[in-house]
Symmetry: C2
C-alpha cells in the first residue's frame, strides 16, 4: 500500500449513519465499482481518467516540462486561456502551491477566456504590457465562445508585439489530437501542441496536459502530482467500504442526501484550498446535477466564513451536511507574540503558532456543528505538496463516479451546459440558429428585455 | 424621486408568483416596515443602518478622507485587519471599483486578520518588506481572536521598522467609541481612531468608518458611495409593494422559500461583483439563518460558473431560485477581431463588444433557467460607480431586514456565531473556559482527534 497523504475520517457521522444502513450499500458499491472498471455503466466512453495516473508516461511528463522550461526562459507571464474544466484544475493546483499574492509568483500564470468581461481584459492588457508573455490556449474544439473570443484578441496582441513567427513560438495549444478548429489552426500556424485524450472529460482533465502544462510552467513538479494520483488509485479502489476511501465518502453523501441533506458544504480551513473547492464544485455539480436531482455543492473558507455563513451553518435550515478539509502542516510557523499589557486578553495564546489556534478553531467548529445537527466528516491533507494534491484529486474523481452511479445518473455527461449556449447562439444570430433567435427575441420583448 | 442606478425586474417570476399570492403579503410588508421604522421589532437596538446614509455628516466624510490622504502620502500599502462585517464591505467596494489584478492598484489595500493561515501571513510579510505600509485595525471589542492575533504580529512589524512613535502615526483603529480593549490601546498609544456606531451591526457597517476608511484610502469617492445609499432610501422605502424595490425582493424570496426553494443563487455577470456577492452572503446568511430556518445564500460568477454549477442549475434538484445581477455598462469596450480564416466560426461576432456577447449570454441563461424551472429575477446596475454600489448596498440591507421580519426571525443578531468561538476558547484553555475545555477534549478523544 502506498503512503497515504490524505485521510477521510467519518467516525463523526456515526450518530447519523448506522452500520446496517451502510451495509445495505455494499452490493451497490461493488456494482458501481464493476460498472466503472468494466465500462458497463452510462458514460463509459469517458472513463479514461480512471487509470490515467498510471498511463501518463515519463516521456509525456518530460515533453511538458521541457516546453514549460523553454517558455519560462523567455517570459515572466503565462496567459492561460480556457473555461470550466480547461481552467479550474490548473488554477486549483497553482493556487494551492503558490504564494498568496499573485505578484509574488514568478513565473506567474494568469487566466483569461473563462469569462467575457471587458474591464478584466483591459487590466490583463496592462499586465501584458509589463511582461514578456507566453500563451496557452486550451479548448477541445477551439470553438467555445469565451476562450475562442479572448484568444482572437490575445493572439493579435502577441502577433503585433512579437511578429507572426515569434508569436507562434510563444503559443501552446492544448486541444483534440486530430480534429477541431484549434488543432487545424495550430497546424497552420506551427504552434506547439499537446493533446487532450478523447476519453477524459473536461472536469477530469487536470492530469492531462490541460492541467499539466500551466502547472509545469508555474514551476510545480507535475511528476509528483501524477505520482500522488497514482498512489491514490489503491487507496480509492476495491469494493470494500472500509478500505476504499472514495466509496466511503460516496456512500455517506448518498445516505445523507436521501435524508434531505440537499447541500454539501466543503469547508476548507486554509485559504490555499479556495480554488480546490471551486474545482470540486464543478466536479460534483456537473457530474451529479441532472435528472432533476443532485446535491448542491457549496464551499466556505474557514475561519473567515464562520463570520459569514457560520450563523446559517450553526442554526439555519437543517438541510446541509459538511465535509471539512484540513491541512495538517503549512510551510511556515508564525506565532502569537506576548505583550506586557494584555488588554486584548490574548496572552493565553502567547508563543502558540497560528496553526495551533486554527486547528482548535477547526475542532471547536466541528463539535459545534455536530451539536447543531450538521452531519460532518473530515478530509485531512498532509502538506501543501503536489503528491498530496494529486491524491486528493483522484480521491474526489473516483468518489464522484461512484456517487453518480449510486444516485443512478450518468456522472460523465453535462447535457444541461448546452442550454444557455444554444440560447446565446440564437440571440447572437449565429449562423444556423436564426429561427430560434427570432423566437427568443420575441420572448425577451415579452418580459421587457 | 432621486435617480435610480439600480433596477429590480421580477416580471420573469410571474409564472411562479401570482398577484393574489403577493397581495396576501401587503399587510405583512406594512407591518415589517412599521416595525423597522418605529423600532418595535426584534433587534430594534441594531437598526442604526436604516437612516445611516443621511446621518453621515460632511465633517465625518472629510475626517475620513483627510486621514486617508495623509496616510496615502507616506505609503503604498494599507494592511486592513478585520473579519466578517469588519472586512467584507470594504473588500466588496474596493474589488468592485478597482483593477482586476491587485498589483495594478496603487495605493493598494490588502486584508489580514480574516483568517489564521501562517503561510498567508508569511506572504503578507513579503509585501510588507517591499512597501511603505500603514495599518487599519477594525474591531468593536478588540478581543476577537483572528484580527487580535494578527494585529499583535503586524504591530510588532510596524514598531520594529518605524519605531514606536511613527508606527503609532501609521496605525488607525476603528472601534467602539468608548469601551473595549482596542479603544483603550488606541488611547494609550495615541493611534488615530474612528468610531463604530453602537446601533449598527457588523454586516450593516460598510457605510460607517469600518468600510469608509479603507475605501477612502483606496482612492474611492466615499461621499458618492454614501450619497448613493441615501438616494436608495426612497427607492426602498414605504409599504407599497410596487414602488419599494426591497419589499418586492423580500416578498418574492419569502414566497419562493415556503414553496421549497431553499437556496438562492446570486448570479453575477461580471467578475467585479464577486466580493459584493460574498458581502451579500454574509448579510443574508447571518440575518436569516437561525431558528432552524433560512434560505441558503449561494453565489456564482457567470459565465465562468456556467461551466461549473451551470449543469446543476439547469437540470439538478429544483430547490433553487436565482437572482441575476447584471451590470449595464463596464468602463471599457474591447471588441471581437475579424479573422480571414474563420476556423473557429466566431466571425459572426466580428466587431461586437465583449459586453454585447456577455449580455446575450445573460439573456440566454435567464431564458434557459426559466425553462429549467428555476424562478429567476434580475437586478440591474448602471455602472461601476460608488453611487450605484451605494444604492445596491442599501437595497440589500433594507430587503434583508424586511425579509427577516417576514420570516419571523430577528434579522439583527447572530447568536450562532458564538458556538464555535466558545468551543475554540475552551480547547485553547482560555482563562474561564477550563472546565468546558476538559469536557471537549474528552469528546475529541472519543472521535480520535
Amino acid at each position: 500500500m502506498p503512503q497515504a497523504h490524505i485521510a477521510y475520517d467519518d467516525r463523526t457521522l456515526s450518530e447519523w449513519i448506522g452500520a446496517e444502513e451502510k451495509d445495505a450499500y455494499r452490493a451497490n458499491v461493488a456494482l458501481a465499482e464493476e460498472m466503472l472498471q468494466k465500462g458497463t455503466g452510462q458514460g463509459n466512453d469517458f472513463t479514461g481518467w480512471l487509470d490515467l495516473p498510471k498511463r501518463v508516461s515519463g516521456d509525456e511528463i518530460t515533453a511538458v516540462n521541457d516546453k514549460a522550461a523553454e517558455l519560462r526562459d523567455k517570459s515572466q507571464l503565462l496567459i492561460c486561456i480556457g473555461i470550466g474544466g480547461s481552467y479550474l484544475g490548473a488554477r486549483a493546483t497553482i493556487d494551492f502551491l503558490s504564494a498568496s499574492f499573485e505578484d509574488l509568483r514568478s513565473p506567474r500564470v494568469v487566466f483569461a477566456g473563462h469569462q467575457l468581461n471587458s474591464d478584466y481584459l483591459d487590466d490583463l492588457r496592462k499586465l501584458f504590457d509589463k511582461n514578456d508573455v507566453v500563451v496557452n490556449v486550451i479548448s477541445k474544439s477551439g470553438t467555445t465562445t469565451e476562450p475562442g473570443v479572448i484568444f482572437r484578441i490575445v493572439r493579435q496582441w502577441m502577433e503585433s508585439r512579437y511578429g507572426k513567427q515569434e508569436a507562434a513560438a510563444r503559443i501552446v495549444a492544448t486541444t483534440d489530437p486530430q480534429k477541431g478548429a484549434l488543432r487545424k489552426l495550430a497546424t497552420e500556424e506551427s504552434y506547439a501542441t499537446f493533446s487532450i485524450p478523447g476519453d477524459v472529460g473536461g472536469r477530469f482533465s487536470v492530469l492531462t496536459p490541460v492541467g499539466l502544462f500551466p502547472i509545469a510552467y508555474a514551476g510545480i513538479d507535475i511528476a509528483q502530482l501524477v505520482a500522488g494520483a497514482a498512489d491514490a488509485m489503491s487507496l480509492c479502489g476495491g469494493s470494500d467500504l472500509e478500505t476504499n476511501l472514495s466509496a466511503r465518502y460516496a456512500v455517506n453523501r448518498n445516505i445523507l442526501f436521501r435524508r434531505g441533506k440537499t447541500i454539501e458544504m466543503m469547508a476548507s480551513l486554509q485559504p490555499q484550498l479556495h480554488y480546490v473547492a471551486e474545482w470540486w464544485k464543478q466536479l460534483y455539480g456537473e457530474s451529479e446535477g441532472k435528472n432533476l436531482t443532485g446535491i448542491f455543492p457549496a464551499a466556505a473558507d474557514y475561519t473567515t466564513d464562520l463570520h459569514s455563513l457560520g450563523q446559517w451553518m450553526q442554526e439555519g435550515l437543517r438541510n446541509v451536511f459538511e465535509t471539512f478539509v484540513v491541512l495538517k502542516n503549512v510551510a511556515t510557523s508564525w506565532t502569537v507574540p506576548e505583550f506586557d499589557s494584555d488588554d486584548d486578553g490574548l496572552n493565553y495564546l502567547k508563543k502558540q503558532s497560528l496553526e495551533y489556534v486554527n486547528d482548535n478553531a477547526y475542532k471547536g467548529t466541528l463539535l459545534a456543528h455536530l451539536d447543531g445537527d450538521v452531519p460532518a466528516s473530515t478530509l485531512t491533507l498532509d502538506t501543501r505538496s503536489p503528491e498530496t494534491l494529486g491524491q486528493l484529486f483522484y480521491f474526489y474523481e473516483k468518489a464522484v463516479a461512484l456517487s453518480g452511479y449510486l444516485l443512478r445518473v450518468n456522472p460523465f455527461n453535462q447535457p444541461g451546459v448546452e442550454a444557455y449556449k444554444r440560447n446565446m447562439f440564437a440571440l447572437l444570430s449565429k449562423p444556423g440558429f436564426e429561427e430560434q433567435g427570432a423566437v427568443l427575441q420575441q420572448r425577451l420583448r415579452g418580459i421587457g428585455l
